[in-house]
Subunit: 502 residues, 2 copies
């Protein structure tokens, strides 16, 4: 006897509820592992994740799931738009995940759990050889993964598409070429003629307890509802969201550099705002949550740079810093703080790079990943290749692998093909800003200390939509135009020419 | 075709691995909820726990599980002792859990998740009416539960047996009668004739950052391996262990009272030590972990009181306190600190009660639970009944429900019948101390600052055994004698007569 559409959607809801339960538990366990779990607990966690990924694999690719989705696909006209999109997304996952052999899928989850623990230790001890065998396995798996998912594509193209649907090396190459052409001369000009501001924080200590209070202030300042968002502390800051009612960001405090955690909190806060504002109607569906890494990074980097490093935000921040750090901030003017937040100077660490040189960090990772995936670079040669690129693009010598190839958590987390989305996101953000300015005085809104109009604009055009459309569609709906990277280069050239009086 | 014993034990291992994965995830989610999860995440967590408890229920009571256990029960002679015990424990669970209707089981897990969030808020706001409807439901469920599990028993006897197998109201009544008869006169004597020491901490602040460092020192001092044990902060301290490689304790810091967290850390540290020292051979079995609440509390209260409040421990603690709190500890002598740690004075909060009056707190909870379960006390009348008992046993007026009926997390966590194990555990500990003293100079070991001989003794006699035997068997193997509460009363009378020169 054939099932009614209502019965089928009932089964779909129950399937999605199960999927979300495992995803939720895994998100919490990941956050716990990165923040407070005892170091020796990694092996146990691996066993649990192995059990769960087997179940998850079964839910995604099982015969029952296939039958249910097929039946629903035959009645798409009867489904509401949200359910229709869910079915199409789940079907995509079903077809794709089925191509990955289950044993390999489970083994990879266990490997990543181990790799994360090994990377944490290797980074602390600047011990590349400890991490190298894991990187070997991660690269090998990703090449196989690309072959399973899209054998017709070049491996790296298949991976880029994983993080930003539709992204290719061709698009990346063109995008980075624009950045290289327009930004490298500007960076060179600053190095040659720009006068760097004094280091206003040199020799001063900013106690962690006070920096924690600053984080609370920052989260409130950008409009985060703490009822649904927590903050933790990790080596590498990240945002984890299992639903709009449970989002966590993390940061890392450096006693001698308050700006590091400050902009990290605003960056992760941007990710959090996106997750927190998905429409209520998408809650409990597979569409709840940001649509892609590129759109996600467009939000985080918008808040970190366009909002966080703006005149108006700096002006409102200053009294708070003075209250929390009266001795350290004595004599520091608004102009001093604005310049300190907007220094453009090549540096070693991506997450602490300035807005202008940031994309060079991304570009070098993109080029290395491309080579790793086409086989022209061996994992064993990665540290040397890294250091050479840093010398080439940033003019710096890398003193140790902790400040070099081991600095990011992406590769140990299995993510190859993620990095380009950071630069892409920054560029998306600049184009969105231009659009936003057509309907409001963004500077005045930021200066007012109440970001509501900005939050509303982003909620309506991006956040509320969750994963209801493809990333490119969402971007174009918001920007009312195709993507154009020159908004980004124009923005940077305008801002930094003024800052350095060029 | 019949399966071989090897095949059957292979299936058993796979079943247990699955059970442990869910238990592990739930433990982490519980810890996360109590420490860092955003407050608004409770509802999502409830949904996930509902999915998981349905799976768990299926694993415990499913047809396949029943068949597997039955087949293994037919070949007990072929099984090694660990597997044999596992099968018998799982069979017990299978038969018992099957008696609980699945919908009720799942609904109760969801209720407890909600109740926990409501209780946290109700306690902070001293708002009994907010919690009362949850307590109603919890009491109602526990009465039903008792009926399902052991319809032949009185409901409260069925629940006592849940937390300490073999415990009954008859045994509790006899035990508490001994305590009442011997301790109440001593408490009265101290109130009438004992000279109370000065409050050495009055008006002083002990910053949380420094107290956190003290916690690290304490955990090291009692021999906790931080590789496998983390510490968090919660309203109500607890210990959570999912295996000997992943144990977490929590504490609560009060700026004006360093002893509260200090002894809390040593108490939870005792629980942690037990979990951390289960034999390697029991890892990944259902027998890994403490055997019962009574034995567990015997370890935590042994460390808190017998070790932590001893002369030798106080002597070693003093230099550390002086280093962390130089101004606050100026002029405080070893004798001052020893007396401060061992004041006997009726107070309102169980977890902060002194060693002598502590069991009166437990006794009053036991009596109230007994009445709740036999129906002679209505939930609505619980706060008044609580306050009357506090007046009767401790001579104190309860100013608000936060310091009264809402103070503990046990009821909101669904645990009715747990409390007696605290007093029982304290008494077990005193008898174990007497036995330990036959083979070593415990005071000298504690004074040496290296507890290894004590840890080894407890590992051999209790900790390593996990749940390999029933609690009473483990206790009698360790003490080489049946339980006798007069060891406890003699210990307290000796200690407090000396302290108060009676």
């Amino acid at each position: 006897m054939e099932r009614t559409t209502e019965e089928l959607t009932g089964l779909l809801r129950s399937l999605v509820a199960k999927m979300k339960a495992y995803q939720h538990a895994q998100t919490v366990m990941y956050f716990d592992a990165a923040t407070v779990a005892p170091p020796g607990s990694a092996e146990d966690r691996g066993k649990t994740l192995a059990v769960f990924s087997e179940v998850t694999y079964g839910l995604q690719t099982g015969e029952e799931t296939g039958k249910l989705l097929s039946a629903l696909r035959e009645r798409t006209e009867e489904l509401d738009p949200v359910t229709r999109r869910e079915v199409s997304e789940l079907w995509r996952d079903y077809e794709r995940t089925k191509k990955i052999p289950m044993e390999e899928y489970v083994a990879y989850q266990v490997l990543l759990n181990e790799a994360d623990a090994v990377w944490h230790k290797a980074k602390t001890e600047s011990d590349w050889p400890a991490f190298e065998p894991y990187m070997e396995k991660i690269v090998a798996f990703n090449r196989k993964l690309a072959g399973w998912l899209a054998p017709e594509k070049k491996p790296y193209d298949a991976l880029l598409d994983e993080y930003e649907r539709g992204l290719t090396m061709e698009k990346c190459d063109a995008f980075f070429a624009v950045l290289r052409e327009r930004l490298v001369p500007l960076i060179r000009q600053i190095a040659e003629k720009g006068k760097q501001p004094e280091d206003i924080f040199a020799g001063k200590d900013f106690p962690v307890e006070q920096q924690r209070k600053l984080s609370d202030w920052l989260m409130a300042a950008i409009g985060i509802d703490r009822e649904y968002c927590a903050i933790g502390e990790t080596e590498h800051p990240f945002t984890d969201g299992s639903s709009k009612h449970d989002v966590r960001i993390t940061t890392h405090y450096y006693v001698n550099d308050p700006l590091s955690s400050l902009f990290s909190v605003v960056h992760e806060g941007g990710h959090a705002l996106y997750e927190l504002h998905v429409a209520d109607g998408l809650q409990d569906t597979v569409l709840a949550g940001g649509v892609s890494m590129g759109i996600h990074e467009s939000q985080s980097r918008f808040f970190e740079n366009i909002i966080g490093r703006s005149r108006g935000f700096i002006r409102n921040l200053l009294p708070e810093l003075r209250e929390l750090f009266p001795a350290q901030m004595a004599g520091v003017t608004e102009e001093d703080l604005y310049r300190a937040a907007n220094v453009a100077r090549p540096s070693l660490i991506r997450t602490e790079a300035d807005e202008l040189t940031y994309s060079l960090h991304v570009m070098l990772r993109y080029e290395l990943e491309k080579q790793l995936m086409d086989g022209s670079l061996a994992v064993a040669d990665l540290p040397a290749a890294w250091n050479a690129k840093v010398k080439e693009y940033l003019g710096l010598d890398v003193p140790d692998d902790r400040s070099g190839v081991l600095q990011d958590s992406h590769w140990s987390g299995g993510a190859i093909g993620y990095f380009p989305s950071y630069a892409l996101g920054s560029a998306y953000g600049a184009q969105l800003l231009a659009k936003m300015k057509e309907s409001m005085d963004v500077d005045a809104v930021v200066a007012s200390g109440d970001l509501t109009p900005v939050l509303d604009w982003l909620t309506e055009r991006i956040w509320s939509k969750g994963s209801l459309y493809d990333p490119q569609v969402i971007f174009e709906q918001a920007a009312e135009a195709p993507f154009d990277p020159t908004y980004y280069t124009d923005y940077l050239i305008g801002k930094y020419s003024a800052l350095y009086s060029l």
